[in-house]
Structures are given as C-alpha cells and as structure tokens.
Symmetry: C2
Subunit: 291 residues, 2 copies
C-alpha cells in the first residue's frame, strides 16, 4: 500500500509519542516536528508508510541523540511476555486444534505495539479472546503448512516475539525448517536479533537479520539472504501492520497475521478497526504465477 | 497561549476534516497537506494556534477553490438550533436562577464545533446536563454583570449563536447594552454577521464585525471599533476555545465560557477534557491594573 493522506497526522502523532518516551521538552519536540514537517513535505507519497517512518524515526534519533527510544519498553515487553509464556503454552497443549490456538496467540501478541499508540496489559489477554476475526483464511494456511518444508516467519515487535515463539514451536514440532526474520536495527519497538534471542526463538528457528531498517520490510535495504528466503521458502508468514503495509502488493503469496490498528489498513482489508486478520494475501504476477 | 507541539498533528487532522467536507480526492488531500506542511515548518511557534489555523484554512481554500467549506454545515447548524430555541427559552423561564441557566445553555451550545471534529445531535442535549463543570466562577460573573452597563460578548460558532441568544436575551432584560462580536469572514464553522442575523441576535445586541479572520480574536486584524469595545465595555464574555486561546493571556479581565475540546487547553485550565468552564480569566498588567 502507498502512503495515505491520513498517514500524515499519524506520523506527527508518532513523533510526539517517541518524544514523550525520550522525555523531550516542548522546545525539543518542536525542533523534531519542524524537521519532520520539512522532510514530509518533499518525501515521496507513493511508497508504503514504513519507508517514510524509517526516515521520521531517524530524524527523531538525530535531534534527540537517542538511538533507541523504545529500548527499555522492548526489554520490559519481552520480560512481561515471558512471564505469560507457560500459560500460553498450556492453552495450546489443551486446545482442540493446537495450530489454530497458536496462530491466535501469535496475533494476540500483535496487540503489543507501542508505535501505534496502543497500550498493553497482560490482564487484557482474556478480553482479547472476544476480538472478532475479520478475515479468517486459517484453513488455507493450515493446508499450505501441512505440505511445506520451509517457513519464513517475518517478526514484528518485541514482546510479541514471545507469542510468535508459541506458533514457531508448533511449526517446529511439525518438522518444518523455520527462518525468523527481524529488523536490522532498532526502529520503534520492532524486534531485532537481541529480542528474538531473549524470547528463545533460536531453539526453534534460525534467526535472520532481514536487513530492513524500517518498521516493515523495506525492500531497498533487505539482504540477499532475505530475498532468497522470501522467494524460496514454501510458506511466508508476516506478522503485523508494518509488514503488511510493505508486502501486501508484492507478487508473492504471503499469510498475514495481524490486528488492524488504523482506519486506513482496516479499510484496505475491509474489516473493522481492531479486528483480527488471518489473510491469505499477496498479489498475483502478470503471468499468473506468484513470485 | 502559544502553539503547543500537540497542535501540529491537530492542524493536519483539521485539514483532512475540511477536505472531507469539501469532497477532495486523495490527490487533492495530499496537495493541500504538502502545502500545509511547508507552511507549518516555517510558521512562528510562539503565537496562539488560531493565528496559524487562519493560514492553514486559507491554504485549503486556495488549493480546493472552496472559500467557505462549512457553509452548508453552518446553515444547517443554525436551522437545527433555532428549532430547539423555544424549549431552551422555556428552560430559562422555569429556572430558579435564569441567568445561570442561560449561561449553561450558552456553553452547551459550544459543544457544536465541527472544526474540532465533534459531532452534535440535539438528542444529546439531555446528556449534556451531566457534563461536569470543571471551573465555576459564575458567582463572580453574576456580580460583575449586576453592576455593568455594557457587555461585549465574543461569539464563536454558527448554531451556537442561537444558544448565545438565550443568554443575550437575559442580559438584555437586565437592561445591559450588548455588543456581539463575530468573525470578519468565514473560517471553519465560526459565526459571521449572517449567522448572527439568522439567530436573531440583532433584536438584543449590536452585531459587530470584530475584523478577526481567524478562529479566535486575531489581534493583528481586529478593527479599531472592536479594540475600543474590548477595552471599554464593563464586562467581556468570550465563547469557546478559539477565543480563549487568543485572549487568555491578554491583560484584560475576560469571562470565558467554553467546553474544553483538546488536551492542551484542558491541561492549561487544569480540568478534564470535555469539562464545562466558567472562568474569570485574564492576565493582570504589571502595574496591577487590567487593560
């Protein structure tokens, strides 16, 4: 998807959120905002939003001198999520369809997203059960996984990686070779290699630095290794909105697991804001083949 | 008050609201946004927000070619409010303290503000009764009015002017000479002379074009007549947030009647968002005298 007009106020709101986390005073906030205004006025508006978010967060870091504003929040998210891990694992074991339960848990983990301005308390987990599933292509996912040997799983946020681990363990127990892709460097609260390691992902999947330095898969930066995995793995699972925004119109079959966190994405998907989505997505190539 | 960092995303949100009313497509929305981004990056940040809003709405009008996007909404607001007039009038007549009832009704009218993104249905009137009064300086207002001969009443929005009329009628029945100030030209849904006339204000007050072309009292544009009235009238009553933003630190005793519609103003006033405010405000001069 390309930048929507509604993304512009959202970029500024994200600047204020990050500055709040950093502890900027009004004067610093205004300095950052004015640089971001100058950037946005000339920035291309035909790219997915994460391409611009990357630059916006770089401006924040440059002016405030804080390279990784969400560092503490990410570590705390990981710790909090790990405490819940045994209970989540128990739920999968007791479920009628453990794979479906694990998919749902992975998506519940996607509710942890400090970049989109949503808070997360673990007490909410029970209430998350009642969130409507706006799109449910689970049966296709299950079928495609059953015949797959390799799975590329594109991670999203810190904290959420612990919930991803639950699903990765299920895939691992089914004998799949899994690659778990993370961001190349800190961006908002997105998971990097250290977060994946903290979640214990390395026991079940090969952790791969995607090369992307934006809150999504920014293709002008991804590594050759990631490109190969993205092309060659039997199934690609993408977590969260940022990855959806950058991958939804790429000619490749991708399963998107996410919760819709803004009106623009909800409208593209045809769901209500806040719905859970299990989407068999990806755009077909001109010749009818998928990348 | 001066522009707050939180005003910047709000400016962009207002652009999108206006473009929606105008019916702009994505391409026009982005053209307007980019011009506004360019303007805001260099605009002074030590002025009250309405000084910049004026320019932002001028950009919207210039690019879309629509001079008065809220024209129909204003007319509809006036018509809707006039239908409610007899019932509001009845409430004042039956009230223990008709002046207080009229003040409350005038503030309830302030909930009509399409510029701040709030909707208004007349069915809500009953529920408005339960809105907390965060600041209540009514007793000071009553006392000052009792000894006043002249009152300058600074209006805010279309539709709301009908609710203002209820209070103006009370003041008129007390023998006050009243001046009712409106904007010089259309800006958002703010009342101009034609709205005041539609509300029938001329029966109880002299309608005065303030000269201000922003959604507040923009002092670099006000007329000499307005300046004189502002200085010389015994009591000044200011309606709404926009007028508060431009007048709160002027060295002049002003009674502010409003509902807080954003976190920044609520924080300055020390109230919750959405509270009703009856504030004896105005900054004292260095020599202890008020302008």
């Amino acid at each position: 998807m390309v930048i929507h007009s509604e993304c512009y106020p959202c970029f500024l709101r994200q600047v204020l959120n990050a500055c709040k986390v950093i502890g900027s005073d009004e004067s610093e906030k205004k300095r950052v905002l004015k640089e971001v205004l100058a950037y946005l006025k000339d920035a291309p508006d035909n790219l997915p939003p994460p391409y611009l978010s990357r630059d916006v967060y770089n401006i924040i870091s440059r002016i405030t001198g804080v390279e990784d504003p969400y560092y503490e929040i990410k570590k705390e998210s990981n710790r909090t999520a790990l405490k819940l891990y045994p209970e989540l694992k128990k739920r999968v074991k007791e479920a009628q369809d453990p794979l479906f339960e694990a998919v749902k848990i992975a998506i519940i983990g996607n509710i942890i997203d400090f970049g989109a301005g949503h808070n997360f308390t673990l007490e909410d987990i029970a209430s998350f059960e009642n969130i409507p599933i706006g799109i449910n292509h689970y049966s296709y996912l299950k079928e495609d996984i059953s015949s797959a040997k390799t799975v590329l799983y594109i991670g999203d946020n810190a904290g959420e990686v612990v919930f991803d681990r639950i699903l990765l363990e299920e895939l691992y127990s089914m004998g799949k070779k899994i690659f778990f892709a993370v961001r190349a460097k800190p961006i908002i609260n997105d998971a990097t290699v250290s977060d994946a390691l903290e979640a214990g992902i390395q026991q079940f999947a090969e952790i791969v630095d995607s090369g992307s330095d934006g809150p999504g898969i920014v293709f002008d930066r991804v590594t050759e290794e990631f490109k190969h995995l993205f092309r060659d793995c039997d199934v690609v699972i993408s977590k969260g909105q940022g990855n959806f925004e950058t991958l939804e119109d790429i000619p490749r079959r991708v399963y998107f697991l996410l919760r819709t966190k803004c009106d623009v994405v909800a409208s593209i998907l045809g769901t209500r804001l806040g719905d859970i989505v299990i989407l068999k997505g990806g755009v077909e190539c001109a010749d009818g083949l998928l990348l």
